[in-house]
């Protein structure tokens, strides 16, 4: 079902249409922001403008990578994981003695995406949770520093699991057999997951702003309310069902399940990174994305939704 352009071989008409819908939503956001100009304070307007501009850049980069093809997409996700891992290491209080192990751990990024690229599912799924899980403590003890050993082991394992292992699941969606999903293809799956994850963030925010008063965990995130959580998850579940037959091989009732999973996992991922930042007493994880903070601030929910959606999909369909 390709549309005949040589450089867009992986895009089905549905996928292309979904991309256009996203771009249309950004156009609406930009126009709304211009209309709101007189009603907002200077600072508020500037922040909104910065956030929306950053959305344009992020969507532009992701869509370009997806359109060029699987190799470009893999390179994009490799770079994304590298930056996210670096960001995680940079906010953690790492011990100076661990520098050599950290340098070695960066190698996990190209290796993990190499397994993805060659479609070696067995290695992709055990490399970090099994091999690195067992090797990181061994590597650390070889460096000879016992003070803070357990914290170092735990935090490096966690950093690699979330930024490399979890995010590589998004890339593996592109490797699933395309003939199983004639409607959306691999790119359709990626867009379904990433769009719903980001949409869930926004939906929870809006429901919370409109109706929220009872806070869930005020000590971690004062903005998370029960109304935001329930309203957001309900909206995402509904959209999950609506979009599933259009972009994925899932029928609408399984789409309900996928949407529910994305809504719940997105919420948990968001809160978890908030807890990390609270512990370290920082507000953002870096300054990379103007108006959003760092990469980790942006992909926090994706780190949780990606593996869960992937395995839900594989279990039910592939």
């Amino acid at each position: 079902m390709d549309i005949g352009l040589p450089f867009m071989l992986d895009l089905t008409p549905n996928t292309l249409c979904a991309m256009l819908v996203v771009v249309a939503m950004l156009v609406i956001a930009s126009v709304t922001q211009l209309l709101l100009r007189s009603r907002l304070s200077d600072d508020g307007y500037l922040e909104l403008k910065q956030r929306i501009n950053s959305w344009w850049v992020m969507v532009g980069v992701v869509f370009t990578a997806l359109m060029i093809g699987p190799t470009a997409s893999l390179i994009f996700f490799t770079i994304l994981s590298f930056i996210a891992l670096r960001e995680f290491f940079s906010i953690l209080p790492v011990r100076v003695t661990d520098r050599r192990l950290i340098l070695a751990l960066y190698l996990a990024v190209p290796l993990q995406y190499y397994w993805v690229g060659m479609g070696w599912y067995g290695m992709f799924i055990v490399f970090i949770p099994v091999y690195l899980f067992l090797l990181i403590p061994f590597g650390l003890l070889m460096l000879g520093e016992t003070k803070g050993f357990i914290r170092a082991v735990g935090s490096y394992q966690w950093a690699t699991m979330t930024t490399v292992f979890a995010i590589s699941h998004v890339a593996y969606l592109l490797m699933l057999p395309a003939e199983e999903n004639p409607a959306g293809g691999g790119v359709g799956l990626v867009i379904y997951l990433v769009f719903l994850t980001q949409f869930n963030d926004v939906a929870q925010y809006i429901w919370g702003k409109k109706f929220g008063n009872r806070k869930i965990v005020p000590a971690i995130s004062p903005n998370k309310t029960w109304a935001g959580f329930l309203g957001g998850v309900a909206t995402t579940t509904l959209f999950g069902a609506l979009l599933a037959p259009w972009l994925t091989p899932l029928p609408w009732w399984l789409g309900l399940g996928a949407g529910l999973l994305i809504g719940l996992a997105g919420f948990i991922g968001d809160l978890t990174v908030s807890a990390v930042k609270r512990d370290l007493r920082i507000k953002d994880t870096s300054q990379l994305i103007p108006g959003h903070g760092g990469i980790l601030d942006r992909i926090d929910s994706l780190m949780y939704t990606a593996p869960l959606f992937f395995h839900f999909l594989v279990y039910t369909t592939y």
Binding site: E87, S90, I91, V96, R99, Q287
Partner: protein, 220 residues
């Protein structure tokens, strides 16, 4: 400076320094617009790593690079023919003799001349790379230098995190994010003590704003 002499420096930064700084490291830059694009100015930065000089210079566009002159220890940077050539031609340092074997006036004159030519001096008022990302006591030389040429602005810059990417004595660069926080320009048209206090206070408050700051530790 003639174009042909600028070319090796620009190529060095284009092909080696900028890729290392921007692809390997990640920079959180605060208030980049405060970076002076021409002199007479002194960038007063804290010092943790050999990367400090290269990172600060990499913030400048290639076309403006020739105006930035790091003042750097002669005993270290001029220790053999290779590093001498690299330091003088590719980085463009003004060698500072820490052991006092060479006439201090001569170093001072070179710096003054650079300020008079509208160049931007890059100076580490701590004197040398400190231990474990701690701010060392500041030396007063910077004050006298700033006063020696009227209208010189002193821009405090705090950097944090580069000591992890390449610590003192380290030989390999490990990717880490670093903070580069640029403060408001100070004027040296005042007494020495209050100037040094302002500089110290500015560096400390800039350091406190860094994401990768040292007090980001686990609570016990």
């Amino acid at each position: 400076m003639p174009l042909i002499k600028r070319l090796p420096k620009q190529l060095f930064f284009l092909l080696i320094v900028k890729p290392v700084v921007y692809l390997l490291l990640g920079l959180n830059i605060y208030n980049k617009q405060r970076l002076p694009s021409h002199g007479p100015a002194i960038l007063a930065a804290n010092h943790n790593s050999h990367l400090d000089t290269l990172v600060l210079m990499a913030l400048y566009p290639l076309g403006e690079l020739h105006r930035v002159r790091p003042v750097a220890a002669a005993d270290y940077f001029l220790r053999n023919r290779f590093t001498t050539w690299l330091s003088l031609n590719l980085i463009g340092i003004i060698p500072l003799d820490r052991q006092g074997q060479v006439d201090k006036e001569q170093v001072f004159e070179q710096c003054q001349q650079a300020l008079a030519d509208g160049q931007i001096l890059l100076l580490f008022p701590e004197g040398s790379r400190g231990e474990a990302e701690e701010l060392q006591p500041l030396r007063k030389g910077i004050y006298h230098l700033a006063r020696s040429h009227a209208g010189t602005q002193v821009v405090p810059i705090a950097m944090h995190g580069l000591g992890r990417a390449l610590p003192k004595g380290g030989s390999m660069i490990v990717p880490f994010n670093a903070d580069v926080a640029i403060g408001e320009a100070l004027s040296a048209e005042q007494e020495c003590a209050p100037f040094m206090e302002q500089l110290q206070a500015s560096l400390e408050s800039l350091l406190a704003a860094c994401i990768t700051r040292r007090d980001a530790r686990w609570e016990d």
